[in-house]
Each structure stands twice: as C-alpha cells, then as structure tokens.
Symmetry: D3
C-alpha cells in the first residue's frame, strides 16, 4: 500500500479533496481537546484578581473558543461544515507547576454532534483560539507566554471508534 492512500484528504495522485462522507452513517460523535498556556505567575495573579469581576479574561477566551468552533470549516481547508449540537470549554489554572515563578492555564473543549464525520478539529480549534485570546489579552503583561500541548484527549463515534490520549508523565 502506498503512503499517499493513507491521507484521507488527498487522492491517490496527490490532489487535495474534501473527503466523500456520503456513505458514512450518521452517528453521535464527541471530541474532547486540550491546550495549555504557560505564563508568569504574576500574569496568573492578574487574571485571577480580574476574574472576580465581570468581563474577565477567562470568560472572553471561553466565548472566543465557542465561536471559533463554529468557524472551523472556514479555517481548515478540507474540513466539512459540521452542524454542532453542543460546545463547551473549561479554563482552569493547574495547581502543580514545576517552575516556581510560572503558572499554567488548562483549556479543555468538548464538542458533540450527530453527523457523518467527527468533530476533533472543532474541539482543537476551540482550544487553540481560546488560548490565542488569552495571549492577546495578556500580551502587554507577558509577551513570553507559550501555548503548549494542543492535543486531542478523547473522541468517540464513527468507524475509527474511541481514541483516548496516552497521559504524559
């Protein structure tokens, strides 16, 4: 079997296509993705202090993530437009961080649909854009923030079945 055929978005002769999902059954599908934002602990303190008031950084990032999930097919060239049944994001600071003066924000997105293709890209896009929004809102404080570990954590539904990310030690 040649390597080209492994790419579902490329024809055997290497042309990009939007994969034909006509023959795939409509099934319930869920995907959970994650991203992390590593920042200075002083930046975390500023976010947390702000977050007790309305209009805080985290809820703006959350909303940006939800709205971005709806735009996934507009951003990722060969993605189908999937009607989303549910999108939610959770943003929490991680307690244990190896570096004293650093803090890590964890972003987790869950997306659900009943369709002929999955919603992994929607969950990953939501996590990426939420993290970028945190960066945008805090960049005047901390331009060295890093978005890390953007990855699929779990998916279910569809022919390829369940995927569960291997925990990083």
């Amino acid at each position: 079997m040649s390597s080209e055929s492994k790419f579902t978005h490329l024809t055997p002769d290497g042309r990009p296509v939007m994969v034909d999902v006509s023959a795939k059954p409509t099934t319930n599908r869920v995907a959970i993705a994650q991203s992390l934002v590593r920042m200075q602990s002083s930046t975390r303190d500023a976010i947390v202090h702000q977050a007790i008031r309305k209009g805080d950084v985290l809820s703006i990032a959350q909303l940006a993530g939800i709205m971005a999930a709806k735009k996934t097919s507009d951003l990722i060239p060969l993605c189908h437009h999937v009607p989303l049944h549910h999108v939610s994001l959770e943003l929490n600071f991680v307690d244990e961080v190896e570096q004293r003066d650093e803090a890590v924000l964890s972003i987790q997105a869950k997306v659900e649909t009943a369709y002929q293709t999955g919603v992994e890209m929607e969950a990953l896009t939501a996590c990426s854009v939420a993290a970028l929004t945190v960066y945008d809102m805090c960049k005047a404080l901390d331009r060295g923030m890093v978005i890390e570990q953007v990855r699929l954590m779990y998916k279910a539904g569809g022919k390829s079945g369940v995927f569960q990310a291997i925990p990083t030690s």
Copy 2:
C-alpha cells in the same frame, strides 16, 4: 497601580473594549511566531514522501496559515482588523528530536504591516491554523499528534519596541 489597568483590553472596571489606537503613530511592524507539531516518525515519512508530489500536506498547511492570518480579527474578539502587507510561512522538519520514533515539524510565520498596532496575533494565528491543518490532514494516520510551543519569537515596531523570545534550552 491596580492589576486591572495592566489589561489593555479591559477598562478599569473590567469591561472588555477594543483598545483605542487613534493616538498611536503608524509605524512599520513585524512579528515572527512559531509552532511545532510532534508526530510519529512514520507520519513524517508519509508527509515527506507525499511532499514530492503536488498538493502536499505542507503546502496546504502553509496556505491555510496565510489565509488564517487575514481572519485574525474575526477570531480574536478584541483584535483590531490590521491591513497586512506581507505574510509568509515556512514549514520544516526539525533534524534533532530526542525520541527515536518521533518527528517534529517546525512552523514559522512572519507578518508585516505599517499600522497603529502590531501583528503578533496574526503571526500566532497563522502558526496555530497551519498546525491544525497538518493535524487534520494526518489525523487518520496519527491521532496522537501534539501541537507544541506556539509562541512569539520576535516583534519590532510600536511603542513597546523589540521583543525577542528567550531560547528554550
């Protein structure tokens, strides 16, 4: 000085705003950002083998990154719409990777403008969406790929001057 005032996108009482850039001078601005995609070495081999043919994974990701840079203000809630003068992306596999069976794709985006606000978010968005596009095109091969180290590498222009990321050891 209270912490709220550090957030340029929030008013002192915590309301989100699109920052007033009226008084800022138009200056030449450049931003360079990066993202990495960690994958199985067999996935890299498939991409590289494919890449000698037209329509390959890397050039589709490159184009997706350029197009995403133009949509940044539509994705990041409080971002200004900045007219971009130049956008380019480079995607290369990194030679030295600590794990034998892993490979790392490096994505670097450069964005330039002459405007009253910078283009860091455009460069970061280009890198994120290019990485997500690689994930989308290879996910049938390798659902465990991880997008890492999305970060600003360099920026120049504007009041805050030059920023240069500290190299990670």
Copy 3:
C-alpha cells in the same frame, strides 16, 4: 430553583455554553419577527418615489435581511448554526401613524426549518439588519431615524410550543 439554571446558555456555575441539542427531536419550526423604522414623512416619500425604479431601498434591505439570517450563528455567540429551509421578508409602510410628519416602515421576517432548535434569532436578526440597511441608505436624508419594536411575533415547533406576541395597544 436558582436563577442561573433559567439561562439555557449558562452552566449552573455561570460558564457560557452552546446548549446541547442532541436529545431534542427534529421538528418543523417557524418564527416570525418584526421591526419598525420610524422616519420623517419626507424620507418615506423619497423611498416610495425611488421604489418604482429598480434597485430601490426596500429591495436592498430585504436582500440584506435574508443574507443576515444565514449569518445569525456567526453574530450571536451561543447560537447554533441552523440550516434554513425558507426565509422571506416583507417591508411595508404603515398607514396610520400618530405624528403627521412621521412615517413608519414595518419589516416582517419569516424563517422556517426542520431542526433540533428554533429560528427565532434568525428572524430577529433578519429584521434588525434589514432595518439597519434602510438606515444606512437613507441616513444622508434623515439621521434621526429610529429602529423600534424589534420583537418576536410568533413561533411554533419545539418543546416550548407556540408563542404569540401580545398585541401592543
């Protein structure tokens, strides 16, 4: 029962979510909304005189309303993308207006679908954008125009059943 639980778009702890519609049945749904544009009677005369020619204000506003209905989920953060089966708008000047030198344009939008959630927001968005388009096209004549009474008139389908607006006396 706490007040938070009344907001379908917020979780019990106040985070925004795109409501899960997975368990809702697909039913035929219709929504009718309205908006009014109050203007000087001389502005109405100019519109009416123009309207006997092609390319008039009212048909441009009508088209803008239809196109806006399709963009509702892009504008309203927690709205689902609903595939619309039918959109139509009617724009008519209201005969009886209390003020001699004033005129009132009535805009009514009807939207239909068969889906797991309703199309109230699509009908309201169509009416709002059509009214804004009238404002845009006539603002050089009459900057004091006011958009009034943007409201849902009727909806049917879905668990909450039929809603009929109470007529304003």
Copy 4:
C-alpha cells in the same frame, strides 16, 4: 432636484453603488448609538443575580457587540469596510421605568476611526447585535422582550459635521 440624488447609495438611475469616498479627506470620526431592551422585571433580576458571577449575560452581549462592529461591512450591503480604532459598549439597567413589572436595559456603543467615511453603522450594528444577544440568552425566560429605540445619539467628523439626537421626552 430629484429625490433619487438624495440617496448616496443609488446612482441617478437607481442602481446601488458603494459610494466613492476617494475625494473625501481622512478625518477623525466618532459615533455613539444606543439600543434598549424592554423585559420583565423578573428577567432583569435573573440577569443581575447572574452578573455577579463570571460569564454573565451582559458581558457576553458586550463582546458580541464589539465583534459585530467589525463585521458591519459584511452585513450592510453598501457599507465600506472601515478600519476601527476603538469600540466600546456599556450596558446598564435604566432606573426609571413607567411600568412596575418591567425593566429596561440600555446599551450604548461608541466607535472611533480616522477614515474617509463615518462609523454610524458600526455603532448601530454593535447596539443591535448586543441587544439580540441579550434576547438570545434570556429568551427561555422571557420570549416577549422587545428591542427599542435603536438610534444614533451622536456623531462627529466628516463633511456633514456633528449630529446630536433630540432627546425623547
């Protein structure tokens, strides 16, 4: 002078055009618009109770308004795309309302630019979409909410000079 020529967006023979602004000077421009949302007082109570927690109705509406201002030229057919320098919204409940069991939310948007055409439509669009977002988030509680008095309050800059809305008694 024929009435057609009064419509800046229509040619003398009635065809729609995007007005030529080439000859207009770039000047600082500001526009302030308003909308009101009339609701049951119990709906106001639910919003206010919620608003002490993060992710509340008003801050989501605020953000939706800011993002909508950036999409104005995509919604209003003959509007120019104007680079916005500043967008802010304020949402407050009005104290004095004539009806005991009713409450009124006031939304005010301010938009600024330095360009060859004004930002009235951006301010009005921000107010309309913020009000629609409040409707969307509260509609399960109160489907009879009405958006009222969407209007331009003030504008300055450009050939037509300052406009100030006449206060409604």
Copy 5:
C-alpha cells in the same frame, strides 16, 4: 402562466425569497461544473515548470475552489447553506487549442450532498474561484487571461432530474 412564477427565488409580486425547501425530499445530489482559463502559451509553460515543485499555482487554485464551495451561500444571496459531502476539483491543460500561442486550462469541480436542494451553485462557484485564483497568481505575467465557459456540465438528484450539458462543437 406569467413569467414571474418561473423565477423560483422571486414571489409572484417580485420580492426575493430564499425558496422554501421544507417539502422537498432529501436525495443524493451531484453537480459537475467547468471553467476554462485562456492564457498565453508562455504562461502555461511557467505554470507547468513551476508545477513540478511544491506550492504550485494549480494546487493553490484547487484548494481555493474547494474552500469557495463551502462559502457559496455566503456569496449568492438566495442560496441555501447546503452541507457538502464531497468536493473535488481537477485542473488540466487542454491539448488542442486553435491558436498556436495560446493555452487553455480546464477546471472541473464535482460536488455531492444528500439534501433538499442541489449543489449546482457550489460546483460553479468552486470553478469560478479556482479560475480567479489562477488569474491572481499569473496576472503579473499575463494580464490578458480570460475565464471562459463557466457552465454546469451535469447534475443529478432532485425533482428536475438529470441535466447534461450539450457539447459545444
């Protein structure tokens, strides 16, 4: 029968509507469209020479066509948003051209869905935007390129059944 009733997108009194497809059954639908780009043979040579390297003109045009198919309902005012199951484009230089110093690029798009309305417009939009992208990328070489013969070649599914274009002699 009056001529107005022939236009499915206009009501009997001439108002534009998004046609009601509620009563139409969901059937498998396919549409194939074509466009041609006539250019100087030296432009073809430059494209072909470039095309052996990654990132070439033809694969960028191909991707632009696929992405445009997804945006059809945003471009064509009265088009429904149709969930696309499959989109592919083929771009080939035509061997036989009547003029010695000219070359003709043929673009063919195939779009499939299972929905209540067809995908002719999606296929035609993909062909048009792919051709425009070729123009954009080659215009510095050959500003006199002409896009020709944008037409529906074939469609199947739906009440009106199969359409097959009559070959041009």
Copy 6:
C-alpha cells in the same frame, strides 16, 4: 531569469506568500472588469419582464457583485485585503448576438481604491459573483446558461501602469 521568479505570489523556491507591499507607494488605482452571461432569449425576456418590478434579477445580481468585491481577500488565497473606495456594477443586455434564439447579458464592474496594491481581483470577483447570481436566479428556467469572457478590461495606477484589454473581434 528563472520562471519561478515571475510568479509574484511564490518565493524562488516555490512557496506561496502574500506579497510584501510595504515598499510600494499608495496610489489611486482603478480596475474595470467584465463578464458575459449567454442565455436563451426566452430567459432574457423573463428577466426583462420581471425587471420592471422591484426586486428583479439584475439588481440582486448587482448587489451580490458589490458585496463579493468586499470579500475578495477571503476568497482568493494570496490576495491582500484592500479597503475599497468605490464599487459599482452595470448589467445590460447586449443588442447584437449572433444566434437568434440566444441573448447575452453584459456585466461590468468598476472598483477604485488608494492603496499599495491594485483592485483587479476585486473587479473580477464582483463580475464573477454577479454572473453566478444571475445563473442561480434563472437556473430553473435555463440550466444551460454559460458565463463567458470574464476578463480585466482596464486598470490604472501602480508600477505596472495602465492596462487596456485588446478588443475581441
């Protein structure tokens, strides 16, 4: 000189880029493009008969063309977002057609700006989308309509100066 360097949107090694326009001066620029729609004469009669009423095919196509010009940079991957100063379209039936039972609709778009790059793509996109809209609205009458001769007629401004299409005999 190698052929790659002729493509302004590709780097010497064939990667796509959004061309750097930083060093280009801002000049007044105008572009005029054209498209033709060939149809049955009975289709022309239906359009013309309809066109004496409001909401006709031609004014909807005109508006679609104007709105599409504003979306050009979203459709054409390597196009800059250019702030448009003026967009207008003219749609007219051509008197002389070689075939008795055929009619030809001529669409002409004019776009103006003062910027660092031209507006040829905006004018061509406007003509293409206006023609596609005519197709969409008339396709139930005449599925064999053909869009022809989409081409740049004239451009001025910028380093490459004036371009004037050679008339087709």
